[in-house]
Every structure is written in structure tokens, then in C-alpha cells.
Symmetry: C2
Subunit: 693 residues, 2 copies
């Protein structure tokens, strides 16, 4: 599944040379630098500005980490089931498990708001590189980071003012090579319309995740609301319920979350030797805890389903990344790419003088990264280990501290332009499961003690004379932050309310804050600052050498990729480009995760088994692209991208069009299922251009 906790990775093979101009079908292109000429040449399709504007205007980013698209004039949004599963889980209860049973609405009145979810449509891109550059000129280390972040926040403020319907975000593209202001129309009331049963959306579960052939109705529908009414969306994609044709051109418009294709070899080695192994080992242990937790009772299984699905997906993604980097040939290709760029720079004395030795500077920062990483991770980056209550506490504490300062001097996540979404995320009501909270918090405290050691001052401050297990139990039991009213009180009360609070989770977050900020400062000064400053010059070198025929690393902002419907051949075996609904019934064993949902078992005779269920394309995507519309040359939607094949698991570092594939759930199958399995004819009518009812 390609949501944003996921990146993508190739266990097996990737060419991995992004220093050089993009290969055929490669690239996650910004809308303001799409290689239309190349596409025309390769596919004979004319992607003009009108086409781009039309597709962009229907492309929707979900702040929860996914992509989606508007597919009706009444604000109906197509995405993946795995992009709404957190919402479905939040709307469920011990009495009603929509994750298991699916969430079906017969009328608009049954559509329900997804906590914490905001939808955003990109309306404008403006270059602000010069003003950010001016702010950072001559600065280094933490000063560099602060000046840059302040300039970005300032540009955001200037771009959107106080308009509550807009969101402005400055994006660093090409790792500091460009800074662009992205302006969005935002929708803070997003309601759930449809999600299939878990057994249907995730048929094959973790074993089949990132594999193909696949048989998943990984599709969900949302609707944009404003002032309690559906938003009118004249700009939407046309839904076509037909099978994709082999070789036909496809475009994916969505928000790839993060790639590391432009990292230097030194940075990749740090990922390989330190960052990924440490994170994966902890993830793996937590996975074991959640698996065992799930086996304890049906209710534990219910509440752990969504978290476990997400965790296993991330685990698989980083498994692929780790083994891509462990592949000597792959790293050799990366080394060759870097050497080529460096030699081209060296051959141009003026450029060489301007660029200096950013590769050396980044290599030097790796020693600092090795020194600080584990501490930075445990105390700051991954603090709380996924505990919702802890996250609330830390955001409340930090927001109270930061809001007392001028916006430009705050930690970037608390700048004025970031506060509306933070406030929504903090204050929206969501269920909190104490048993799960205990698992997360205990796991994090145990690992923090393990990695930093018992005698570390921060660990001593966190634990006092308590055990991780005991502290977690006490704090989870007594915290009242699960109550949105209490969170609002602390949010509005600022530092005075925080300091007066006897909530033990608030006190834990307060206790952690000084050492967390200290290591963050070391990280910014010695790692992030020098790295970002050097990376800007590598970006400049790349532009100078390769022109604009390169695309930036993914940044969870809107991109367009092109490709075609195509299977692939690997080690002599050819995988066809599609599966059918009939294949689902053949693969079902009756045992989870290969068991059919009851509705599907009952509907078997009614369904056209020849309908294309899932298909694959050569589009270059990554985590965050989940839910992206897959559109044809006319800009009509053929499906929603939901995964990559196993070969694409190295996609964080490179793309190989011969075997990397995007996996898509077809509109054809969706129409068939909505009508015949779910009996949602109103929804089908709306998709086909009518009104729901």
C-alpha cells in the first residue's frame, strides 16, 4: 500500500541513476515542469496546459497521508480503502466494527466526518527561491535552518493571509534547489461515503501486499463538505467503467510522499548501516507485540487491525529499502552516478568554484549523524512510539511554548500557517484505546532505555524509579487527554494551563522536552543544517549539468507521472497486466487473509467474473500516491493506484521501468462491485454523472 508512511523500495533491482536525466516513464514531475514533449514523442499524446489544469483541479491531497480525486460534481472523492481505514476505525466501536463489515451509506445523511482529515486542492505554484536564498545567505548550521524555516513561514503567511479557506505551504524541491509556494483550497470537513470490508479491501493481507497478481477492492469514497453541505465541484474527473487496454498511456496525479533518489552515497550508507536497521528492528518488535495483542481477544483484534496494517506496510517498505541498499551492485550504480556528476562539475572550473565540495560536507555530517541519530530518534523524532495521548501531550506542550514566541522564531511545525491543521488534528474527537496506548508507550520507553542505556540522564529523568511498564500503565490510566474538551482547554489555556495541569501525560511530555530540544538542536546544527546547505549546491550542480530534465525527490506535493498499462517479465516469467474478479474466487481459501467477505461469497453468481479487477502500469509512484487517480489520455479516471509490485520496493532510491509497476484497482471492478455486491446504485448513478438521490 502506498500511503505516506510507506516509501517504496526494490528488493531486487533498480537502475537507480537519478543524477542523470530521467529514463523512459521515470519521474514524479511537478505540474510546472511536466515533460510534455517527451510524452508526445513516446505516446503521441498532447498534454497541454488545459489538460494539466483540468487534472490538477480534480486532484486532492488528504492530509492523513494519501492522494485522491474528485469524481462527481457533488464533491465525491475517490481514494483507497487503506486511505480511509483510520477513519473507519475511528467511527467504529466495540458494538459496530465497520472495518470488518465495511462502511456503506444509503443516503448523504449517513456520511460521517473523518476525524483529523483535511482535503486540499492545489490552485497555484509560485517561485519563492530568491527570497528564501536571501534569508539564508552566509548562514550555517542551526542559523541556516532557522533562517530558512522562518523565510518559508513568512512566504506562506504572505501567500494566504488570513483566508481560512486556503492553505499555503512552501516546498523545498530538489533538496533546496528550488523553493515553491503551493497554494491550496482546503476542505476541513471530509466525510466517509463508502469503504469495503477489510477482507475485500485487503484480501491477501500482508502476504500479498506489494505483490501481483492482486485482487483488492482497495477503494474508498469520501465527500467534501463545507458549512454542512456537499461542496459543488464542477471540476472533476469523468468516471469510465471500462477495462484498461494493454499499452495505453496512463497518468498518475498524486502526492508521492518521499524519495531519497538524490541523496549522496554517504547519506545512503548512513541509512543502510544505521537508520534503517535501528528503525526496522524496533518496528519488527512492535509488530510482534501487536500480532500477539491481536490474538488476545476479538476486541484487541478489532482495535489493532488498522495500526497493524499500517505497521506491516511500513515494515515491508523498509525491508525493501534495506535490501536494496545492501545490494552491492545497486550501491555501485549509485556511486557511479555520483562520480559522473562530480566529474562533470570538476570539468567546469567556474561551476566547481561556485559549488565547492558539498559531497565532502555531507560525508562529514554523517559522523555527527552517527553520534546523534539514536538519541534524536528516541527522544524527538519517534518519541511516544505512536501513542496518541503522548502525541496530544507533546503538541499541547510545544504549542503552548512556541505560540508565546513570534511565528518566525518557532519550531517550524508551530508557525502561524501550520496552526489551523494542527488545531484540527488536536481537537477533532477520536477514540483512544488504552490497551493499545499501553503497548505503544511501553514499547517506546523500553526501547529508549535499551538504546540510550539505564544510566543516561534523559532516561533517568523519564523513568525516575519506575519501570517502563509501570510508568506507561500509570500515565495511560490517569491521563484525561482522550477528552477533546480537555485538549481544547489546554490548547486555549496556553502555558499557564499546561503548567497547572496534573495530567501525567502532560507531565511526561514536559519532562522529556528539555533533552528532546537539546538533541534536536545538535541535529539541526551538526546534521540537518550542513546537509541542507550542501544539498542546495548539489542541486545547483545538477541543474547546471543536466538542465531541467530532472525531477525533484518526492515531497508529498502534487506530481504527475506518465506511463502505460503493461505487465512485466522477470527471470523468464511474464506477469500479465491485469487480474479479473474471477481470480479472486480462485485464490480464496477460506482462511484469513484469504477469506471472502460474506457479501462477496453471496454475490458470486451475480458477478461478471471477466471484469478486470486490478491492473499494473509503468507509472513511477511511491507512498503517498495511494488513492491517486489513474487517468487516460483524455483525463478520464480508469482506477485508483494503491500499491507497487515487489520490484518497486527500491523506488525510494531509483526507478527501473522494465520491472517496476504501479498496481491499480479498476473503475470497472468498482462499478461492478458497487452495483452487484453492495447494491449502492445511488453511488453508481452519481459516478456515472447523475445525482446520488
Amino acid at each position: 500500500m502506498r500511503f505516506v508512511t510507506a516509501a517504496c523500495v526494490a528488493a531486487l533491482a533498480t537502475s537507480g541513476l537519478v543524477a542523470a536525466p530521467a529514463l523512459a516513464d521515470e519521474g514524479m514531475w511537478t505540474y510546472d515542469n511536466f515533460p510534455s514533449a517527451k510524452v508526445r514523442e513516446a505516446y503521441g499524446v498532447n498534454v497541454d496546459q488545459a489538460w494539466l489544469d483540468r487534472v490538477r483541479g480534480a486532484s486532492v491531497r488528504l492530509t492523513t497521508g494519501c492522494s485522491s480525486s474528485v469524481v462527481s460534481p457533488q464533491g465525491l472523492v475517490l481514494t483507497n480503502a487503506h486511505c480511509v481505514i483510520e477513519c473507519v476505525q475511528d467511527l467504529s466501536s466495540p458494538q459496530k466494527d465497520y472495518v470488518k463489515d465495511g462502511f456503506l451509506t444509503a443516503t448523504r445523511e449517513e456520511e460521517r466526518t473523518c476525524p483529523g482529515m483535511q482535503a486540499e486542492i492545489l490552485t497555484q505554484i509560485t517561485d519563492v527561491t530568491d527570497q528564501v536564498r536571501a534569508a539564508t545567505a552566509g548562514k550555517a548550521g542551526q542559523d541556516f535552518v532557522r533562517a530558512r524555516d522562518a523565510a518559508m513561514a513568512q512566504a506562506e503567511k504572505a501567500g494566504c493571509g488570513d483566508d481560512k479557506a486556503l492553505r499555503c505551504q512552501v516546498v523545498s524541491l530538489y533538496r533546496g534547489g528550488q523553493f515553491k509556494l503551493y497554494k491550496y483550497r482546503k476542505y476541513a470537513d471530509v466525510r466517509l461515503v463508502f469503504s469495503p470490508e477489510y477482507a475485500t479491501a485487503f484480501f491477501g493481507g500482508d502476504p500479498d501486499n506489494f505483490n501481483f497478481p492482486r485482487f483488492n477492492l482497495d477503494m474508498g469514497f469520501l465527500r467534501l463538505y463545507e458549512n454542512g453541505r456537499p461542496v459543488a465541484t464542477p471540476q472533476h474527473l469523468t468516471w469510465v467503467s471500462r477495462a484498461p487496454k494493454e499499452g495505453e498511456v496512463t497518468f498518475v496525479s498524486g502526492n508521492p510522499g518521499s524519495t531519497d533518489r538524490m541523496l549522496t552515497v554517504a547519506q545512503l550508507e548512513t541509512q543502510r548501516d544505521l537508520m534503517i536497521p535501528v528503525a526496522q528492528l524496533q518496528r519488527s518488535e512492535l509488530r510482534g507485540r501487536l500480532l500477539q495483542f491481536s490474538s488476545e481477544s476479538p476486541e484487541h483484534k478489532r482495535i489493532a487491525t488498522d495500526p497493524l496494517t499500517g505497521l506491516e506496510n511500513s515494515y515491508k517498505v523498509f525491508f525493501g529499502r534495506q535490501f536494496a541498499l545492501n545490494d552491492a551492485a545497486f550501491m555501485q550504480a549509485k556511486r557511479a552516478g555520483e562520480a559522473e556528476l562530480r566529474s562533470k562539475v570538476a570539468a567546469n572550473p567556474q561551476l566547481a568554484a561556485e559549488i565547492g565540495d558539498p559531497w565532502g560536507e555531507i560525508a562529514k555530517a554523517q559522523a555527527a549523524a552517527a553520534t546523534h541519530f539514536v538519541r534524536y530518534r528516541q527522544l524527538e523524532q519517534a518519541a511516544g512510539g505512536g501513542s496518541l495521548l503522548f502525541n496530544y501531550a507533546r503538541d499541547l506542550v510545544r504549542a503552548a511554548q512556541e505560540r508565546a514566541k513570534p511565528s518566525a522564531e518557532r519550531l517550524p511545525s508551530y508557525a502561524d500557517t501550520r496552526l489551523p491543521l494542527l488545531e484540527k488534528t488536536l481537537l477533532d474527537a477520536r477514540p483512544v484505546d488504552p490497551a493499545l496506548e499501553q503497548v505503544y508507550l511501553e514499547h517506546w520507553l523500553l526501547k529508549t532505555r535499551e538504546y540510550l542505556t539505564v544510566d543516561d540522564p534523559a532516561v533517568k529523568m523519564l523513568l525516575g524509579r519506575e519501570s517502563p511498564e509501570g510508568l506507561a500503565a500509570r500515565v495511560v490510566k490517569a491521563s484525561t487527554l482522550g477528552d477533546p474538551g480537555e485538549r481544547r482547554r489546554l490548547w486555549e489555556g496556553g502555558m499557564a494551563a499546561i503548567q497547572a495541569s496534573d495530567d501525567p501525560m502532560i507531565q511526561l511530555a514536559l519532562r522529556l522536552d528539555p533533552p528532546a530540544r537539546a538533541v534536536r538542536q545538535s541535529w539541526d546544527s551538526e546534521v540537518a543544517g550542513p546537509t541542507d546547505r550542501a544539498a542546495e549546491r548539489i542541486a545547483r550542480a545538477r541543474f547546471a549539468v543536466y538542465g531541467d530534465q530532472v525531477y525533484p525527490d518526492a515531497t508529498f506535493t502534487l506530481r504527475l507521472s506518465y506511463g502505460k498499462v503493461a505487465g512485466w517479465t522477470y527471470r523468464g516469467q511474464t506477469i500479465p497486466h491485469f487480474t479479473t474478479i474471477g481470480g479472486l474466487y480462485e485464490r480464496a481459501t477460506g482462511a484469513e487473509p484469504f477469506a471472502l467477505a460474506p457479501r462477496w461469497a453471496q454475490a458470486e453468481a451475480k458477478l461478471d467474473k471477466s471484469v478486470v479487477y486490478n491492473f499494473v502500469t509503468t507509472n513511477d509512484i511511491i507512498g503517498g500516491n495511494s488513492g491517486s487517480p489513474v487517468v487516460n489520455a483524455r483525463g478520464e479516471v480508469l482506477g485508483a493506484a494503491f500499491d507497487g509490485n515487489i520490484h518497486s520496493l527500491g523506488g525510494a532510491y531509483g526507478y527501473d521501468g522494465t520491472i517496476n509497476r504501479t498496481v491499480v484497482v479498476s473503475t470497472a471492478a468498482a462499478t461492478e462491485a458497487l452495483a452487484k455486491v453492495y447494491g449502492l446504485n445511488g453511488l453508481v448513478r452519481e459516478l456515472n454523472g447523475g445525482r446520488r438521490r
Copy 2:
């Protein structure tokens, strides 16, 4: 803890150059090649043959993976608490938890036999290199492996005949450089005399494991029995209850389990990039399951204590190994060592011609290792995932198949000379915990499906239409292999009984056997065979270049290491060489694993807090050395080695005497505790040369 599931590893720094002659204090020397001259020069101590014979004759190997020593004339054996914890757990029940409470005996009648444990004292070493070489001459691949294994089994048979009091074992030393026949006097009835409370033996738990300062009474006592009576052991070490002196010479006589110091760089890269990561990720997930399992109920906590302790120890060991290999400087030193040996070989044309290119051959075998490893691991090497019932089933199935063949044609573990210990292990009564069995078996099936994929023929054969969870539950519930009588029936009934059995665990083992044997054959032919054959020639090269001033990699056979009592200095911080009993009380917080056992809390006023509790020495040891006597120049026992410091975690690959340390529990503390905490004056009397009572 340094028992044999553990190897040792250096997260931080090791010199790692074992191709060259050993550095000061480095080496796990065989008793027939001990560098007495070097020791005399360094420490002024004369280790003559009489000294060696005396210490050897009191050194005891425990087949469960530890070392120990005879310390009284009545067969009393000193080892570590962590070396007897499995026995203590086996003797416990839901009604009586000896792990938690300690196992104390007032009289000999209360001493109880440890299931599956055999004690062995080395009596003779004979060189059989020539006969093994003759058998393998001109052979390659699997033929080479088979011929060698058959020749080894034959030499064992010839060495011990049918004498049931003896065990003969041919050991490959220097990775095939020498083959030696080790003859042991064996004791199959080993009884538990004493083990402290878990809170005392493992104070500080996993967080303090491999750290120092330490405060562990990691000490246990066993007694050798024969014909229902204690064995007379005139040859034993003298117990001295005095503090070790800084700088005094120390010898450790024990059985280091396994080191990889002589591996080629290509082999180390395969460990680093494939074998260790895969195993650690699975271990980490299982750890999470067991941690969560332990939290479910006091009874789950009780039954999981021993397995979790062992698993966390292995995890930490391999964590250290992984990060030692991930250290570029460390690998560079390994590369330099290999290059030096190769250039010295190349400089001698006759030697070069004789040796050929074993490094190249081993590098080539790594491609085959990459192809087969995961399959080999899941189906053969780690099959069953730790399930005791599965292990019983597989041994019963394989033994029935193999015993039908002539000894020389069997899988090595089923040769005639190996059967007595196998039979004991299989037929001794041990408790089986179905809930734990479910965790192990389910985990293994899940990971096997994950790594080999759903569509793999072996996975399909294993699972059929069942889920891993469902299959594990069905099989664990219905198997009767927990009954030693049933195991005996199948052991004695041979293949006919196996094939007639409707035990589902037997059926699972039968189903797994063909694909498991197939991948084992691929492994032997393409990886083990070529590697072992090449390694023999590297050993020859090493002898030719460096003479006999090198020691072989550890093989869980008796070795002697020398060193001295000494703290160390790292990054400007100096760690003293000892801790005191008083330090225990200072470190205690009251929360696990830093809570005192009740007896210790009560005894505080009675104890002499200045008594040395744990101390460190420069001896070079590794997992398997746990329980080894640490003796002084006179051959008196000063303590039992039980751990290494954190810097020694790279010990599998090299030794750095400036910071690598052995951690020892002192006889002085043991005497103080036995008398004042446990009131075991009879045991103290026996240790001091009297009779117990």
C-alpha cells in the same frame, strides 16, 4: 550472558586482525597448543603440563551450551545461574516457581536431575587430520561434505567403541586446518543443587546485560551423579573466597561456542547484508510477541521468563555483531588482514600453487548463499521456530529415516556416535507449554510464508488451505509428543511407527521433510561444500605464513584463555575493575529488573557490603564460555565468567585487549551470599573442603 546461543560482538571497536599472530591476551587456545612461553614472558607464570592437566580435568562442558568446573571432591559443579535457568524452569510448575524464588537444597536428597543435560570432561586429544584428509581427497561439493562427515563419524566410533561412559567427537579446528578427536568422560545424570532468584541472578535484566558495572549473582551449582550417587571427583579446583587483585593473572577454561574471526571478507559481507539482518528482524518480532505474551498473565510471565531471557541475549549479541560489521573502519581492517595474508601467499610461488584461490572460491559461493539462504533457514536451519514439539517431531522423523541407513551415510547429527545424546534429549521428561508452542510455531509459519511467499510450493504444502495461526493451533492442541512415553514409542518403533502415527506434529514434520532436505542438499553442494573445501586451504596458508602462533575459531570445545584483572578506559572514562555488594543496594530502584529479591532485601544489614561482587578481566571469551571457572596462577577458582562488556560484542570477529572485558561473578560474593542470604552453610562447608553433611 555468554551461553552458546550467544556469540559476541563489538558495537564499538575491535582490532579484528586474526589472520596475524595473536595480540597480547588474545586467543581461545586449545589445550594442546597453549602459548605457555608467551604467558611466562608476560605474566611470569609457569603454565606447565601438570597445571594444564589439572585444570583440564576439572573443566566441565554442559551439553546445554555452557561451561563449568568441578569444585569439590563430591562432584559439585560451579556454573552460571543462566546456564541452569532452563533446568530451573523445567522443574517449576504453576504451583512452584523456582525461577522467581530460587532453587535451594538443604540436603542431597533435594537435588534434582536436569532434563536433557549432560556433563562432559575432556580426557584426551588425538590428531586425526590425515585420515579425514584421505577420505576427502579429490572430492568436491556435497561429496566432499559427505565423505568428511563419514570419516569424522568413523573416527569417533573407533575412538570410543561402545563404552557408554565415554563420548568421542571429532572437531574441525582452524576451519578444516586440523581434525582432532576429543574424548570425554560423560555424566548423563546432572542434578541441580542451587540457583538464586531470577531477580538476583539477572539483576538489571536485559538493560544491564553486556554492561558493567554489574551486580549479578549469576551463579548456579550442579552435581554429577552416576548410578544414583554423587560422583567422586578427586580432581577439582580449589575454591578461594578472596577478592581478585588488580593486575593479577587469570585463566578462563571453558568452551567458547563459535567465532567467525577467520571468515573471509566475502563471508562477512554475506553475514552483514543478509544472514544477520534476516535473523535479527525475525528475532525482534518474536521478542515483541514474547514480551506481549508475558504481560498477559502471571502464568504467561512465568513460562516465558527463560525463553525471553535467552532470546534477548541472542538479540543483543547479534545486534552487536551487525553493527560491528556495519562499521566501515572495522571492515577495512578485515580487508587489510586478508590482503596481507594473500600477498604473503602470492610471494611464495610454491605455496601459491598449492593453495590456489580459495578466497575466490568462497566469494563465488556467496552468490549461492544469497540464492538459498532464506529458504535454507526457514525450512531447515530454523524450522519450527523454537517449538519443542516440532523439534521432537523432526528428530523422531529424521532419526527413523536415518537409522535405517549405515551410520556413515546418515545426516551427521544421526551418526551412531551422536545417538546417545540425541536419545537422552528426546526422551528426558520436560514440561511443554502449549501457549508458548503456539507462539513459536505460528511465528515460524508466518515468517516462512512471508519470506518464501504464499505461492511457494513448500509453503503450499505446509499450509494447505489453513492459516499459519489455525494450523499451529490445531497441531499444538492435538499432538501427544509432550508425553515422553509416546516419544519413546516412536523412537523405538522406527519408520513403521512414524508412518502409522496420526500425530499432526509428526505429519507436519513429514510434510516438511522433502523440501527441507532438498534445500539442504543445495546448500551443502553449492555453499557448505565449496566453502569448507576452500577454508581448509586458507587454514594451510595461515599455518604456512604464521606458524602455530594462531588459535582456531571457537568450536564449543575446551579452550584456555589468559589475561589479567583490569578495568578499562574508553573515551576518557575509566571503569574500575570491580563492583561490591554495596553497589547492588545503591542501584536497586524497587522496579523490575532493578528490584531486589526479598531475601536480599532482608539480609542487607548482615552482609559485608565491601565484598567484591563482580569483576572484569582481559580474558578473550565468547558465548559458550558462560560458567567457565576463572582461575588464578595456582589454578584456584576466583569466580565464574558470565558475560562480556559492551565492547566485547564484536568478539565474534576480533579481540581488542584495551577495551574487551570478561565479566565474572566472584567466589567471595558467592560465599558471602550462600552463608548470609541463603543460609546454605552445608554448601559453603563443601566448597571450603568439608563434606556437605
